[in-house]
């Protein structure tokens, strides 16, 4: 692999190089091996990785006006490397953060001490559309509100930072496993020599975690994964995970509630379901409680959940803790609930609901990233440095019309990692999404879905916006 034209920029943290042509210590062996690998070989490996995704049908579906198209997330075969020590540091921060968020959720649906003690203004929580009144006073199994969390982490010269806590139905973990399988097959010797931490145990850890939520500790609980259906863009992942954890893959139509218990229709009658790993948003879970036009959910499901007859992972209402406005308060929450300093930093965030923050945002639009509070997936966002004056003027109008719906953050120089582009190495911006599982204890596999902005100069890593994936190797070198 040719690194001679690699565009190293000292202003941007590079995951592989510490200086021009100078690999980081934990990357040295891999860089040397990649340098010796002929371009043709690497191109072949890249093609094989792409082909394996196609052959195995690891796709997401995009629906046009007339027909559906199955697409593959482009995967770059050059792994991103993280030293085990760095991973341990990140892991400790993630554990601290998820403990905090679970305490916060128990609190905001319970006594609301966090508001009464003045840590977070009441209107930030009560004004959040993801705050579910139906969850007030509800006890969740083991006090675990967030069983599966996919935290978006970025890195700059200042260290790791949390970009978003995804606490509702985070996706991407199937790509972590699929990327590993494909890249490992392509770079066999390199993989073996690099002592990469394994991620394949994710499925069994997830199963163990879900089983720990079993109502009343029922042994050998019946698990179901609730999917919105085959039209959902993450359907592959739902199917994959159902298979991994030995759960039935169910849609709302397969479930019914009888006398406060949830059952699924099987070929031998109705079978009680104990734990539901739901990949359906709160709004659609139960038409009797949330959106009454929902066809994806199960009437009576919330009643069964509140009576403790079925566990839902994640619990409804967790969205209030990953709201973009509430996010700004997470470091304060860590101090408040745990009495500790946060190990993972937030990105400096301004809430446009505050007049001084709105003014600052409007004055600095060309330097900031502005996001809508309720949007995700890179939609409804303005990336100041990449916008035109006309786009900024237009955006400022919508911002002024409803300031509470926006936050702004500085445009981060996200770290970059080498990618194979047109046969040679080029740097591209990356983030990573590790998955944190919480049952009786918190478990994290040493790996993540690493997203990469494949367009030159782009900072947007979302797959819906031209992003791709990479394998993340946590190496013990």
């Amino acid at each position: 692999m040719d690194f001679s034209l690699y565009d190293f920029d000292p202003a941007i943290y590079d995951e592989m190089f510490v200086g021009e042509g100078e690999p980081r210590d934990h990357c040295r062996a891999v860089v040397e091996a990649l340098r010796e690998l002929p371009d043709d070989d690497l191109n072949t490996i890249q093609e094989r990785v792409t082909r394996s995704f196609s052959q195995e049908g690891i796709t997401f579906t995009v629906y046009g006006d007339e027909e559906a198209e199955e697409r593959i997330i482009p995967i770059d075969c050059v792994p991103r490397l993280l030293a085990l020590a760095e991973w341990r540091e990140l892991e400790a921060g993630l554990v601290q953060r998820i403990r905090t968020l679970n305490l916060f959720l128990a609190d905001v649906y319970g006594d609301c001490r966090v508001v009464r003690d003045g840590v977070i203004p009441a209107d930030v929580i009560l004004g959040c559309p993801q705050y579910r009144l139906a969850m007030r006073g509800v006890n969740v199994p083991n006090d675990v509100w967030v069983t599966i969390c996919g935290t978006d982490i970025v890195r700059t010269h200042e260290g790791f930072m949390v970009l978003e806590d995804n606490l509702r139905v985070p996706s991407g973990v199937s790509y972590m496993i699929a990327n590993r399988k494909a890249v490992k097959a392509g770079l066999r010797r390199l993989y073996r020599r690099s002592r990469v931490q394994d991620v394949e145990q994710y499925g069994s850890l997830l199963r163990q975690t879900l089983c720990e939520l079993s109502p009343g500790g029922r042994p050998d609980p019946c698990l179901a994964l609730l999917t919105p259906g085959t039209y959902n863009s993450a359907f592959y992942e739902h199917m994959f995970l159902a298979h991994e954890i030995g759960a039935e893959l169910v849609e709302g139509q397969d479930l019914l509630v009888n006398d406060g218990f949830v059952y699924m229709r099987t070929t031998s009658g109705l079978r009680r379901v104990d734990v539901i790993y739901r990949r359906v948003d709160d709004d659609f879970l139960d038409p009797l409680v949330f959106r009454e036009d929902s066809l994806l959910g199960v009437p009576g499901l919330m009643n069964a959940f509140k009576r403790g007859n079925v566990a839902l992972a994640n619990a409804p209402g967790t969205g209030v803790a990953d709201d973009k406005s509430v996010y700004a308060y997470v470091p304060d929450m860590v101090r408040y609930y745990l009495g500790e300093e946060p190990l993972l930093q937030n990105v400096d965030t301004r809430l446009c609901r505050r007049p001084e923050d709105l003014e600052y945002t409007l004055d600095n639009l060309e330097r900031l990233v502005v996001k809508r509070v309720g949007e995700s997936g890179g939609y409804g966002m303005l990336v100041g440095p990449h916008s035109t004056p006309e786009e900024r003027d237009e955006y400022a109008k919508t911002l002024r019309a409803d300031p509470a719906d926006f936050i702004s953050q500085p445009t981060l120089a996200l770290s970059r990692s080498p990618c194979l582009i047109d046969g040679h190495a080029e740097p591209r911006h990356v983030d990573l999404r590790p998955f944190v599982l919480t049952g009786n204890e918190t478990r994290i596999v040493p790996g993540a879905f690493c997203r990469v902005a494949l367009r030159r100069g782009s900072l947007v890593v979302n797959s819906s916006q031209g992003g791709g994936g990479k394998d993340l190797w946590v190496v013990d070198l």
Binding site: Q55, T230, M239, L249, M264, R265, T266, T267
Partner: protein, 320 residues
């Protein structure tokens, strides 16, 4: 097993059996285009359309008794039966539907089965009739072979649980219906021609039974013997009796469905179809009447299976 998953696996098997059967019919039919008479070619097309219970595309006629018309028509007819997206039974549509059911039920089948089927799909996904028309028989043979491979891979890798039973049940019911349908078409069409043996040899080849016929009956082609072999020989995998018995076996292995009445009906229908062939066939004076009764049983069996295991009333279901 989740009822909807059982239904998905059942339909997957039905669609793939349909695609495989039709590919075999077309493989032989396009071979006829090389050296057979126009009458034989037209006979073959009519039989396929009858079997699939479909009318040829509007505007296409079977009538012109000249080679050039026969060949031009054949391209259109093969296209209609192979790649026509709006024809739900075309080879392309049947594989697409089978693969889509498999995609949705991937957790119920083995990874090897999925990879095998997906590879077949990726090969034909973007093809059109013009792409295969230089050597169409190669395309059909390969497609048929891919479906045989899928069945073999399933046999070697799939867990013998309820999904396996439903898959085999779907395949057996589909094959029984298609075989009976083709036999009825053959009987009727051969009555309309003076060449009484027309089409019977290809019936044997369709069901991979030419060698078996030679071993049992010698080289003389007698329609009643062919019919007898294809209907009532339990040792021939594609015979009507073998497919009906396979359906009964899988049903027996499933145990009772929650839809109690439909379940009883399913077992009765499977038993009746088998009994008709075992006990009534040898003395049947009007074979097509008996085959029509088998056909009705096979079609009703489909409804009864879904009623017993999938669409049952919840009130009737036991709670577990």
């Amino acid at each position: 097993m989740l009822a909807r998953s059982a239904q998905g696996v059942y339909w997957m098997a039905r669609y793939l059996a349909r695609a495989g059967y039709l590919s075999r019919l077309l493989e032989l039919q396009v071979q006829f285009l090389v050296d057979r008479s126009v009458e034989e070619i037209h006979f073959g097309w009519k039989r396929i359309y009858r079997c699939m219970k479909r009318l040829p595309p509007p505007g296409e006629q079977f009538l012109p008794e000249a080679d050039e018309f026969a060949l031009a028509d054949s391209f259109t007819l093969a296209d209609d039966l192979t790649f026509e997206r709006s024809n739900p039974d075309s080879v392309w549509s049947a594989i697409a539907s089978g693969r889509e059911n498999a995609r949705q039920m991937r957790h119920c089948i083995s990874g090897e089965m999925w990879t095998c089927l997906n590879a077949a799909w990726l090969r034909i996904r973007d093809l059109e009739a013009v792409d295969i028309w230089r050597t169409p028989e190669v395309f059909y043979a390969q497609t048929r072979s891919e479906i045989h491979n899928f069945v073999g891979v399933a046999d070697a890798t799939m867990y013998r649980g309820a999904a396996w039973r439903f898959m085999r049940l779907g395949r057996a019911i589909e094959r029984a219906q298609l075989a009976v349908s083709l036999l009825l078409a053959q009987i009727d069409l051969s009555r309309q021609t003076e060449r009484r043996t027309l089409g019977w040899a290809s019936m044997l080849r369709t069901h991979h039974a030419l060698e078996a016929y030679g071993r049992v009956h010698g080289i003389e082609m007698k329609p009643d013997r062919v019919l007898d072999l294809l209907v009532a020989d339990p040792s021939l995998p594609g015979s009507v009796l073998a497919t009906v018995q396979a359906a009964a076996t899988e049903l027996g292995g499933l145990g009772g469905g929650p839809g109690v009445e439909a379940d009883a009906a399913a077992r009765r229908l499977a038993g009746r179809a088998e009994a008709l062939i075992l006990y009534d066939w040898p003395e049947a004076s009007a074979p097509e009447e008996l085959l029509e009764r088998v056909d009705r049983s096979a079609r009703d069996l489909h409804d009864a299976v879904l009623g017993a295991f999938v669409d049952y009333a919840i009130e009737d279901s036991p709670l577990r």
